[in-house]
């Protein structure tokens, strides 16, 4: 049931990403100050925004799980956070490349957005050891949801604290009153954001489909009374 619509969604994602990257390379003007390297902005920032929204979405699913007790929401929450952590790795790598090219260092400490993101990433990286250290599956789902809610409250607070502690070097592109980006760049950026967000949704759906398929397979095996090869996977909540 999770596989429904996966194919058109994948095609839409491929088209959107291809279109967005053509915009980046053939339409958007070169940045007057930074030149070609500024193009990584169209990848780095949408990835970061999608990852952060994904963490919040994971928190919302966790609230739904706690309120309803329906384990499906826990699977949603898990997959959202999982995908956002993967996107987070990409954000840190592209951020490092950009920082090296424009400031000359792979890592810059007095730069609030990068540092905040690293702390948020470290926080969510503990989701996995935390989750899999709890054996009882029902308790595991509940505690993971509590973690997701707590970490969701932590994200904005952390951004605020880090920003107050550091100087202001990072380009805050959208901080100025009229957006700060010229029209063509803004259009390209929004196209990229849409494409990356679609990619996130597709990957989340794909992982849910895979989990549901393997869960069904396991149930069928059990019904046939055949032992599953290897012990049951601990690495994911099961999806029904």
């Amino acid at each position: 049931m999770y596989g429904k619509g996966l194919r058109p969604l994948s095609i839409a994602t491929v088209v959107a990403i291809a279109a967005a990257f053509s915009l980046v390379f053939f339409y958007a003007p070169l940045d007057a100050d930074q030149g070609f390297i500024q193009k990584i902005f169209y990848l780095h920032v949408p990835l970061a925004i999608t990852a952060l929204i994904g963490f919040v979405v994971g928190g919302v699913f966790a609230i739904l799980h706690l309120r309803s007790g329906d384990r499906r929401w826990d699977a949603y929450s898990y997959v959202s956070i999982h995908m956002s952590v993967i996107f987070g790795v990409a954000v840190l790598i592209t951020g490092g490349i950009w920082a090296k090219a424009s400031w000359g260092h792979w890592w810059v400490w007095d730069e609030p957005t990068l540092v905040s993101f690293l702390i948020v990433f470290l926080m969510y990286a503990t989701y996995y050891p935390f989750r899999y250290a709890i054996e009882d599956p029902e308790r595991q789902a509940r505690y993971a949801s509590v973690f997701a809610v707590t970490a969701g409250a932590f994200v904005p607070l952390n951004f605020m604290a880090v920003r107050m502690a550091e100087s202001l070097v990072h380009p805050r592109t959208f901080a100025t009153a009229n957006g700060g980006l010229p029209g063509e760049m803004m259009f390209t950026f929004l196209g990229c954001l849409t494409a990356i967000a679609l990619l996130w949704v597709t990957l989340v759906k794909l992982e849910l489909t895979a989990k549901s398929a393997s869960g069904q397979l396991k149930r069928l095996r059990r019904a046939l009374d055949a032992p599953a090869p290897g012990a049951g996977s601990r690495i994911a909540p099961e999806v029904s």
């Binding site: 926080m123 250290a133 709890i134 509590v146």
Partner: protein, 231 residues
């Protein structure tokens, strides 16, 4: 029909807190270890940094890193007795509001931290600071930061204690969670311990951040703690 008799939350809170403090007073499991750990860490910093006196950001960093790691010792042990001696089952059976347990445990942790600081902050001043002028405003920062550690520590500890690797998991999850708290606490402490006597640069702002952190995580703890006790 009679309504089921429910013990008022306040007396449940008082009973659990009194039980915890009495148990700590009789067994002395956490506090002496925390104080000893902090003092030894100061000595290690004295040689690690090769300084006999500290001021400003270095002083505030040493103080907060030490206090935080000492606090982790207390956080780790907070629910061990409940788990091993069946305290959780008893709480579940008792006709009380479960959040009383959260509030009482957080209050117990707060008391541990305050006692710890009452002992080790004067030692820190004796070791590294020239004067005790900063201690009065520092007390306010300590109190607000302790409240935050108590809220998050209780929440994480109550989950970690049910896991396979509880001694590992508590600190692992708690450390990134208290980073904003540490940013604000060190930010407020740094000018207090500056060379030329205590300064109050952005003191109010940092206190506001500390209070906001405390408020948010006390509320989160209050909201989710019920789910942690279900079974």
């Amino acid at each position: 029909m009679n309504a089921p008799r429910v013990t008022p939350t306040r007396s449940a809170f008082a009973a659990i807190l009194a039980k915890d403090l009495r148990a700590e007073l009789r067994t002395l499991q956490s506090l002496p270890a925390m104080a000893l750990f902090a003092t030894t860490t100061f000595v290690i910093f004295r040689f690690g940094l090769d300084r006999t006196s500290l001021s400003g950001s270095l002083a505030s960093g040493v103080l907060w890193a030490t206090l935080l790691f000492a606090a982790l010792l207390g956080v780790n042990r907070l629910f061990v007795a409940e788990r091993e001696e069946g305290g959780f089952d008893a709480i579940r059976l008792a006709p009380i509001d479960r959040t009383a347990l959260f509030a009482a445990k957080a209050a117990a942790l707060l008391v541990y931290l305050l006692v710890l600081e009452l002992v080790v902050v004067p030692i820190f001043a004796l070791f590294f600071l020239g004067s005790a002028a900063a201690l009065a405003p520092l007390a306010l920062v300590l109190l607000l930061a302790d409240l935050g550690i108590a809220a998050t520590g209780t929440l994480i500890s109550s989950m970690a204690v049910h896991s396979r690797a509880r001694d590992l998991l508590g600190p692992l999850v708690l450390l990134p969670l208290v980073v904003p708290l540490m940013i604000a606490a060190t930010g407020a402490t740094e000018p207090l311990l500056a060379v030329g006597g205590p300064g109050y640069e952005r003191f109010g702002t940092w206190l506001a951040v500390l209070s906001l952190y405390d408020l948010i995580f006390l509320l989160v703890g209050y909201a989710v703690f019920d789910f942690l006790l279900e079974d």
